[in-house]
């Protein structure tokens, strides 16, 4: 390292290294974009298939949900294009203001939000409804990455480690529990945990925190009777097949009906009012019914590829902030997909969260695509150690 004779060679080698990594990162970015485009297209098709019967019944327009999803895709694409062009370092600067805004919105929604099915999650805006908790996913990742980066030299002290986490994740968590929207909170928790794991904090702290999170999640899960019911239904859906277990069982019927190769596009039976929320939470069951195991595994594969590409981006990020943000976003999207599909497959309780890029729902779609844009930008921003 000290020898002058090697300096030219080492510079050349480093340059070659960097060029290769950049190329790899570009590939990762391209991969991410391709995956998202495919998922969004799959989502549009599945939304139409899953929702047309319900749409016709409720609005006399079988394309009602499809049209809205199309608008969401347009806005999401716009968001993705914008965020992929904003240098991610910019988010260091807006992390705290964005976080404060999020807190403000979360408080607002508790005060004036529209109550649907006993939960206040929606801010009634003139044109679209907006869920502040979706924004919270982004801002928690940003603010946590920002704080942990700034404190990375102090992280060996538990107080410096735990206080920022409690202030950010804890506060958001409390406000979201008040709504309540446990599904989103779990995703935020997972994303936050990913950010923390990607930070320079000592392993033991991370471990303790992880354990505490699992404990808290368990307590929360059983704190409300409807959540406890969902978990009981998850353990044995057939115990209450017309009540809490109904949706899961109808999902099974759909998947079973699909078999290996599916019943064909548009030929789903579950969509004829049998499967509740077919176009939102349970869209994966419709995909599995119409395209079979082949289609289902393809969707799983796309999410695996998305996760791996995100992981590559994180591990090659130019700086800790980029690494933490990339890890947070990747885990958020992967975890949300896992929880959603896991719910359909009956391996985790139903949480009511969307399948990213695929489920009907504008807010989630726009926020997810914006987050993916950030990931693309990190991928294209160079490699570790060089800025």
């Amino acid at each position: 390292m000290t020898a002058k004779v090697t300096s030219i060679a080492s510079v050349r080698a480093a340059a070659r290294d960097r060029a290769e990594l950049l190329k790899a990162n570009n590939r990762a970015a391209t991969t991410l974009l391709v995956v998202v485009v495919v998922l969004v297209v799959v989502g549009l098709g599945a939304t139409q298939s899953a929702s047309s019967a319900v749409a016709l019944d409720r609005t006399e327009d079988s394309l009602f949900f499809f049209k809205r999803q199309l608008v969401g895709v347009g806005l999401g694409t716009l968001a993705l294009l914008i965020t992929s062009r904003i240098p991610y370092r910019f988010y260091r600067r807006i992390a705290v203001p964005l976080f404060l805004l999020t807190i403000g919105l979360l408080v607002t929604v508790l005060l004036v939000g529209t109550e649907i099915n006993g939960a206040r999650r929606w801010l009634p805006l003139p044109l679209v409804s907006f869920q502040p908790s979706e924004l919270a996913k982004v801002s928690v990742v940003f603010v946590l990455a920002y704080v942990l980066e700034r404190k990375h030299k102090l992280l060996y002290r538990f107080g410096h480690f735990i206080v920022p986490i409690l202030v950010t994740v804890g506060l958001v968590g409390l406000l979201i529990i008040k709504q309540p929207d446990l599904g989103t909170l779990i995703v935020i928790g997972a994303a936050a945990l990913a950010v923390i794991m990607a930070s320079d904090a000592p392993m033991k702290y991370v471990f303790v925190l992880g354990l505490a999170t699992v404990l808290a999640a368990t307590v929360l899960a059983f704190s409300e009777s409807y959540r406890a019911d969902r978990i009981t239904a998850f353990l044995d859906p057939y115990a209450d097949s017309s009540g809490d277990g109904y949706q899961v069982i109808q999902g099974y019927y759909a998947l079973g009906n699909g078999g290996l190769f599916g019943v064909g596009l548009g030929a789903s039976r579950a969509r004829w009012f049998y499967l509740p929320n077919a176009h939102t939470d349970f869209i994966f069951a419709i995909i599995g019914e119409e395209t079979g195991l082949v289609g289902g595994l393809t969707v799983l594969g796309l999410f695996v590829v998305l996760g791996l590409a995100g992981w590559l981006v994180a591990s090659r990020a130019p700086d800790p902030f980029g690494r933490m943000v990339a890890a947070g976003i990747t885990v958020w999207l992967s975890f949300q997909a896992l929880i959603n599909i896991g719910g359909v497959l009956g391996v985790v309780p139903i949480t009511g969260i969307a399948l990213p890029f695929v489920s009907f729902g504008s807010t989630d779609l726009i926020v997810s695509m914006a987050a993916l844009g950030v990931l693309v930008n990190i991928a294209q921003s160079g490699v570790h150690g060089k800025t």
Binding site: M1, S10, A13, A53, D57, A194, M197, A198, S199, D200, P202, M203, V206, Q250, Y252, Y253, A254, L255, G256, N257, G258, G259, L260, V263, G264, G266, A267, R269, A270, W272, F273, Y274, G288, G292, L293, G296, L297, L300, F303, V304, G307, L308, W311, A314, S315, P320, R323, A327, T330, V331, S334, F335, L338, I341, G342, L345, G346, V347, H384
Partner: protein, 591 residues
């Protein structure tokens, strides 16, 4: 070069990022496994369970078979109709609705109003309304009015053939007559329509569907001749008016085949409404019996009286105990089989027999005994046989057991020969202490007409299904007496009409033979009353009989109390039509 790379790789955060990646990939692999489990391993079970919740199966009602007369005229058929119903919750003004809609359809408005205001969610306004009427009602587009197709059974011959066809209930189940006997055959086999429906009950367009068409019921071809049936019924109805009788029954049999050409009863009833058209039933002693839809010719039993003598005399001739010319000396008009029986009033002691007309003791030939219908003479003839041989012939002629006709609930009749009964044989010889159905008696006479061979009467000759026509098989025939005895008996029967009690049975152009019967009815107290059952059974043309007609008139007025007075004219009217319908060549004189 290696050192910095190694150092970089060992950064704890990087290791942990790798752990995250591995954990996520592992989780996805788990999902993949679970997906395989659901979509491959458990797929068929799950798909089947799912299908079973979507699959509905509707029964496709088969078209009920038609019933034809012997000339291909329709006696019964099923036609499309609609049942009109209301959904009370959608009816805005039940009172107006009941009066207007109910009124249009001829429903009972009060009952309809009551039902509309109850908590039912489905109320029939009227079932099985003609399509034309139903469409008119539905065309008014009144809220809450609906219809569903429900075919209805109609009987083109109306009341004329109702005793034969019987009828179905509102649900199309055979209740009486051929509709009941052949219910299973007529009914057909229901088909099935299976399809997948959505949660709101509509058919899923891409869903599975299968239709197994219903197999229509077989058509029945009967031996009934509708014009003859009509004429017979008309004769019966007229007889009721004239004689004031309670009921009149006629069976017409084709002698050689046992085919029932006509089978009627009056009062008549309409198979559509199942109401008798005779308003006098309201005043009748027993309105229910008056209105009865039952068929007395097959199910009703009565003491036949003198028509029974045919069997007694035929048996004695066949056994060679007597010949036509055998003379019984000094036959009185009264006979005591039990000491002092005739000294007691009425029937306190059985065993007193009297002839219908008073006469002094005179010598009478077998022929005279038969044509004058002497009870005492007939008992003397029976005495030559003894009870055992008499019973043997009575049974051979088919009395005391079902004829085997294809009609429901046929009666066997009663032969009363209880042990120790000293007078039963004598009573039986003249048609008391036995009870028969009009059909049994017709079949017994047909055996004489058919040269001594008894044949099972039947109504359905063949059935037609999708594979074609099938003849009814397995009709029993048996020889009862020799052709010679049958010939002698026919001559005696002809003599009854020509110079005996049955003069009113004569018809133009044909030689007719027959026997009158007048039996006093038992009262409620077990004693015989003045009320009679008057009957006439006969055949024509006598040299080669084609048709047997049996007529039974229940409880005619006193002036018409004998078979010769009330039943023989009905016989003549029916027989004339029957011969005409069959195109039988006249063999007798034009009067």
């Amino acid at each position: 070069m290696a050192a910095p790379k190694a150092a970089r790789r060992l950064q704890p955060s990087k290791v942990r990022v790798a752990v995250i990646g591995l954990a996520v990939v592992a989780a996805w692999m788990g999902m993949g496994f679970r997906l395989f489990q659901i979509q491959v391993v458990q797929a068929s079970d799950l798909a089947e369970q799912g299908l079973s919740q979507r699959l509905v199966s509707r029964e496709l009602a088969p078209q009920r078979g038609k019933i034809f007369d012997r000339n291909g005229e329709l006696l019964a058929m099923t036609v499309p109709a609609q049942s009109i119903y209301a959904v009370p919750s959608q009816v805005e003004d039940p009172l107006w609705f009941a009066q207007q809609v109910g009124g249009l359809l001829g429903a009972d408005t009060e009952v309809l109003y009551e039902r509309l205001t109850s908590d039912r969610d489905f109320v029939y306004i009227k079932r099985q309304v003609e399509d034309v009427v139903a469409n008119e009602i539905l065309g008014l587009e009144i809220r809450g009015v609906y219809s569903h197709p429900e075919p209805t059974r109609i009987y083109p011959a109306g009341a004329v053939a109702s005793r034969v066809t019987g009828f179905v209930n509102i649900d199309g189940d055979g209740q009486e007559g051929l509709e009941l006997v052949y219910d299973e055959e007529l009914r057909g086999t229901p088909g099935k329509a299976e399809f997948e429906r959505d949660l709101q009950g509509r058919v899923i367009p891409q869903g599975f569907s299968r239709i197994v068409p219903a197999i229509p019921g077989v058509d029945l071809n009967t031996t009934i001749d509708l014009p003859l049936q009509y004429q017979s019924q008309k004769a019966c109805v007229l007889a009721l008016e004239e004689t004031g009788a309670r009921s009149c029954w006629v069976v017409v049999l084709a002698v050689e085949t046992g085919e029932v050409l006509a089978m009627v009863g009056a009062p008549i009833f309409d198979p559509h409404t199942r109401q008798t058209q005779d308003p006098s039933c309201e005043q009748a002693e027993d309105p229910a019996a008056c209105r009865s839809f039952s068929n007395f010719t097959v199910r009703g039993i009565y003491e036949p009286g003198s028509t029974q003598k045919l069997i007694t005399v035929a048996a004695a001739l066949e056994e060679g105990e007597v010949s036509i010319g055998t003379v019984f000396p000094g036959v009185p008009d009264e006979l005591e089989l039990t000491d002092d029986a005739c000294r007691f009033a009425d029937d306190e002691v059985y065993g007193c027999y009297r002839d219908f007309d008073e006469h002094g003791a005179e010598d009478m030939s077998v022929a005279e005994i038969f044509t004058r219908s002497s009870n005492i003479g007939t008992i003397k003839i029976a005495a030559t046989l003894g009870q055992d041989r008499l019973i043997q012939y009575i049974e051979a002629f088919g009395l005391g057991s079902k004829t085997g006709i294809d009609y429901t609930a046929e009666a066997s009749g009663i032969l009363n020969f209880e042990a120790g009964c000293k007078t039963c044989w004598a009573s039986a010889a003249i048609g008391y202490s036995v009870a028969v159905t009009p059909l049994q008696m017709a079949a017994a006479y047909a055996a004489i007409g058919n040269d001594g061979i008894w044949t099972t009467p039947h109504i359905v000759s063949s059935s037609t299904d999708v594979d074609g026509e099938t003849q009814v098989a397995g009709l029993q025939t048996r020889r009862v007496v020799s052709a010679g005895t049958a010939l002698l008996m026919r001559e005696l029967l002809a003599a009854v009409v020509e110079k005996g009690t049955g003069a009113a049975a004569a018809i133009d152009g044909y030689r007719v033979g027959g026997k009158t019967g007048t039996a006093n009815k038992l009262g409620d107290n077990g004693r015989y009353t003045d009320v009679t059952r008057a009957s006439f059974v006969g055949m024509a043309p006598i040299n080669d009989p084609k048709v047997v007609v049996a007529v039974l008139i229940d409880a005619p007025l006193f002036d018409y109390r004998t078979g010769g007075l009330s039943a023989a004219p009905v016989f003549a009217a029916v027989m004339q039509q029957a011969l005409h319908r069959l195109g039988v060549t006249p063999d007798g004189d034009q009067r």
